[in-house]
Amino acid sequence: MSSQYAVEMINIHKTFPGGVYANQGVTLKVKRGEVHGLLGENGAGKTTLMNILYGLLNRDKGEIIINGEHVEFESPTDAISKGIGMVHQHFKLIPPLTVVENVVLGSEPIFGRTFGRGIIGKIMRALMPIDIKMAVEKIIQIAEENGLHIDPYAKVQDLSVGLQQRIEIIKTLYRKADILILDEPTSVLTPQEVDELFETLKEFRKAGKTIILITHKLRETMALCDRITVLRDGKLIGTVERDNTSPEDLAQMMVGRPVVFMVDKGISSPGDVVLKVQDLHVKDYRGLESVKGISFEVKAGEIFGVAGVEGNGQTELVEAITGLRKPTDGVIIIDEVDVTSKSPRFVREVGMSHIPEDRQKMGLILAFTIKENLILGRHYRPPFANGPKNMLLNLDRINEISDDLVSKFSIKTSSSDAFAETLSGGNQQKVVVARELAVAPKLIVAAQPTRGLDVGATEFIRNTLIKMRNAGSAILLVSAELDEVRNLSDRIGVIYDGKIVAIRGPDATPEELGLLMAGHVQGVD
C-alpha cells in the first residue's frame, strides 16, 4: 500500500456544545502493525479523538486518512467498513442479551438471499430471521483462533468483567477489524486479566493488526507500546518511540511539569487532640457488626492513616464519625464536643469536613452545577444564605466564592455554571475537595481521596491534604492504597476485621503493614 501509516489524523479540532475544547489541532499517525499508545490524563481528549476516528463524533476541522485513503465517517458503520474496531472503556454491551446477540448487533447474519439495496431490501433484511447458528459458529471460530474462549449463549450480565471485555474484542474481530482501538482496557481488570489481555494484544500485533491503546497508566504504556503519542488539555504534546523515553519523561509530558512520585511533607507538629474515638462499635447495612471496638486519637496538624484491605470496617467507621450511621456503642468526640449519633449537619457544624469514598454518589449531585455543588452542606447559613432567618440564597456571594474556588483549586471547566457530570473524574474530586476544605475544618475525614484519579489530580489532592495538615487540621485518611497511606501519614493504624490491630509510624515497611492488613498480628501488643 501507498502509506506506511494505517491511521493518520491530521490537525483535528473538536469543541463540545457548551464551548469545552476537547481537541485542538491534534495530529496522530499510527504505523501499520504497531501498538500505539495514546497517553494523557483524564480529560486530555484521548477518548474524544478516538470517538471521532470511530465515527461516533463529528470533528469540527481536520483530515482523517486510513491506509492512505481520505475518509469521511458519518457513523461507526463507515468506520467499521474501513476495518476499524473500538473497545470502549464503558463496555457497549447489553447485559440482558446473550453473547451472540451482543456480537451480531448491527451486522446480523440472516437466512435467505440478500434482497437488493433499496428500501424494500432494507426492510426485508430487518425482518428475516437472524441466523444465530451461523453467528455462533463464527464466534467459536474467532474464539479458537485467538484463544478468546467464551460461551456464545451465556447472558452478558452473568459474565465477569474480564469476559465482557473479551466479548468486546470478539465483536471487533467479528466485523473483521484490523485497526483496534482500546479505551483504558485495563482499568476494570484484575492483574491476571491484564496479563491475559496483553498476551492477546501481542498476538494481534504478530498477526499484523494495528492497535491504538488509550491509557493514562505509564507502566502498561512502557510494557506494550511501540510508539506513544501524548495529549494534554486537548493538545498534542508529541509522539515518541518507547525505546527513547522513560516513565518520568512521559509523566512530565502528560502533566506538563516534573512529577514527584514521593511527597515531601515535612515534620508534623501535632497539637491538641481533635478527634477521639473510644471503643466504637458499628453495624453495617446488613445488621452485622463491622466495627468491633475501635479506639484512636487524631491530633491537630497530624495525618492519621487507616490502612487495610477494603471491607474491614473502614466504610462504617467513616460513616459513624461523619454522622451518616449511628454506632451501636462507643463515643466519638470532635474538638471536645460529643458527636456520637449526632446528625451529619451537627457534626459538620462542629468543624468536620468529609471527602467521601464515592464522589459521584456521596460527594456530588451530578445534575447540579459546579456552583451549586460547591455550596452544598453550607448553603443554609452565611455567607451563602442571607435575609430573614437565612431564607434566601445570596447569589452574588455564591458566584464570587465559587469562581474563586474554581480558580484556586484549578478545576478545569468552561464555567462554574457547568454541570458536575460534565467534569472529568479528577475535576469532580477537586470540586468535592474545594467545598470541604474551603472552610478551614478542624477535622478532615478523607476516604479514598485519590481513587481512580490520574497522576496530576492525585498529586494535587495529596499536596492539598498536606497543606491542610501543615495549617493545623487533623486528618483521618482512609485509603486502600498502601503507598498513599505510607506517603502521607504521620501515624498509620492498620484495620483488620473491624479492629485497629496496630499503630505504626510512617517508616513501617510495606511488608510489615501488608502482613498486618492480612491479619497476621503476632508481636502486637
Binding site: F16, T47, P76, L105, S107, I110, A126, L127, I130
Partner: protein, 316 residues
C-alpha cells in the same frame, strides 16, 4: 340452577373475554414496540381513539370496513409519528408528549364526531362493520363454541399479531436492534445503527396497533363511534404490557386476564341482578386486583434506557 346454564354462561364469559381482550392486547403489543425501543407511550389511549374514529368515519363514507381498518392503522401510526418526532427527534419529555397525544386524540375525535355526523355522544350506526367469521363445525362445542364459532377477523389477528411480535422481537435484526435501543442506545449507536430511526419505527408501529385496537371498538365489536369510547382502555393496555413484562405472550395472557375480569363483571351484572346495585363496585375490583398484583406479586423489569432521550454529542 339448571344443568345447562353454567356451561352456557361460562362459554358466554369466554366469548366476552376474547372480545374485551382484543383491543387491550393489540394496544398492549403496540406499547411494547414503543417501550422496548425506549420510548414511553402513555398516548395509547389517544391513538386508540384516533383509530376508532377514523375507522368509523372512513367506513361511513366508503361503506368498506377494510378501508376503514387501513385508515385506522394509518391514523394511529400518524399520531404516533408525532410522538416519535417530539420524543426521538427533539428529545422531548415522553410523558408530556404522551399526555398531549391523549388530549389531542380525545378532543379531535369529539370535534370530528360532530363534524361528520352532526351529533353529540354517538355517531350514526355503521351497518358495514367488519363481518364475523362463522366456523360452523365448532359452533356447538360447549364452552369454546360461543367464543370461537363466530369470531371477528380482528380477534384472530390478535393471536397472529402476538406470534408475529414474538418473532419480530426475538428472531429478527429489527427486534434485536429495537431491544438494544431500549436497553442501551449508545451501544446500538456504536454498532453503527441509527438509534433515532429504530426508536421512531417502534413508536409508529405502536400507534398502528393501537389504531387497530381502536378500530375494533367502533367497527368490529361495536358499530358506531362514541365520544371517548375507549374509556381508559389505552391505560389498561399499558397495565397489560407491564403485567406481561413487555413480552408478547405475557401481554396476550395479561390482556386475556383483564378481558376475563370484564366478562365476569358483565356476567355478574346480567345473570345476578341482585348484585346490580354494587355494579360499579364490582367493576372496580379488577383494577384493584391489578394494583395489588403489580405491587405485591410481580416484579416487572422495564427496559433500562426507557424515557431517556439519547444524546449523541454528550461529553462522556
Amino acid at each position: 340452577m339448571m344443568q345447562g346454564l353454567p356451561l352456557d354462561l361460562i362459554g358466554w364469559v369466554f366469548a366476552v373475554t376474547l372480545q374485551m381482550a382484543t383491543p387491550l392486547v393489540l394496544a398492549g403489543l403496540g406499547g411494547m414496540y414503543s417501550e422496548r425501543g425506549g420510548v414511553v407511550n402513555i398516548g395509547l389511549e389517544g391513538m386508540m381513539l384516533m383509530g376508532a374514529f377514523t375507522a368509523a368515519a372512513v367506513t361511513y363514507y366508503t361503506l368498506n370496513p377494510w378501508l376503514g381498518i387501513l385508515a385506522a392503522v394509518a391514523a394511529g401510526g400518524g399520531l404516533a409519528a408525532v410522538h416519535a418526532i417530539v420524543c426521538v427527534k427533539f428529545k422531548g419529555n415522553h410523558i408530556v408528549s404522551g399526555t398531549g397525544i391523549i388530549l389531542f386524540g380525545a378532543g379531535f375525535t369529539t370535534l370530528m364526531l360532530e363534524v361528520v355526523w352532526h351529533r353529540k355522544g354517538y355517531g350514526e350506526t355503521i351497518t358495514n362493520t367488519i363481518p364475523d367469521i362463522v366456523i360452523e363445525p365448532i359452533q356447538n362445542i360447549p364452552l369454546i363454541g360461543q367464543a370461537f364459532g363466530v369470531i371477528s377477523p380482528i380477534v384472530i389477528f390478535m393471536f397472529v399479531a402476538t406470534i408475529l411480535s414474538w418473532y419480530i422481537l426475538f428472531k429478527t435484526p429489527f427486534g434485536l436492534r429495537l431491544r438494544a435501543a431500549g436497553e442501551d442506545p449508545s451501544t446500538l449507536d456504536s454498532a453503527g445503527v441509527s438509534v433515532e430511526w429504530t426508536r421512531a419505527i417502534g413508536v409508529i408501529i405502536s400507534g398502528c396497533l393501537a389504531g387497530l385496537g381502536g378500530a375494533y371498538l367502533s367497527i368490529g365489536f361495536g358499530s358506531a363511534f362514541g365520544k371517548n369510547m375507549t374509556d381508559g382502555r389505552g391505560f389498561i393496555a399499558l397495565a397489560a404490557m407491564i403485567f406481561g413484562n413487555w413480552s408478547p405472550f405475557g401481554i396476550l395472557i395479561a390482556g386475556l386476564f383483564f378481558g376475563f375480569l370484564d366478562g365476569l363483571n358483565y356476567a355478574i351484572q346480567i345473570y345476578f341482578p341482585a348484585l346490580l346495585p354494587y355494579a360499579n363496585f364490582i367493576a372496580m375490583l379488577p383494577y384493584l386486583l391489578v394494583v395489588v398484583a403489580l405491587g405485591v406479586i410481580r416484579r416487572s423489569i422495564p427496559p433500562k434506557g426507557i424515557a431517556i432521550p439519547y444524546e449523541k454529542e454528550r461529553k462522556a
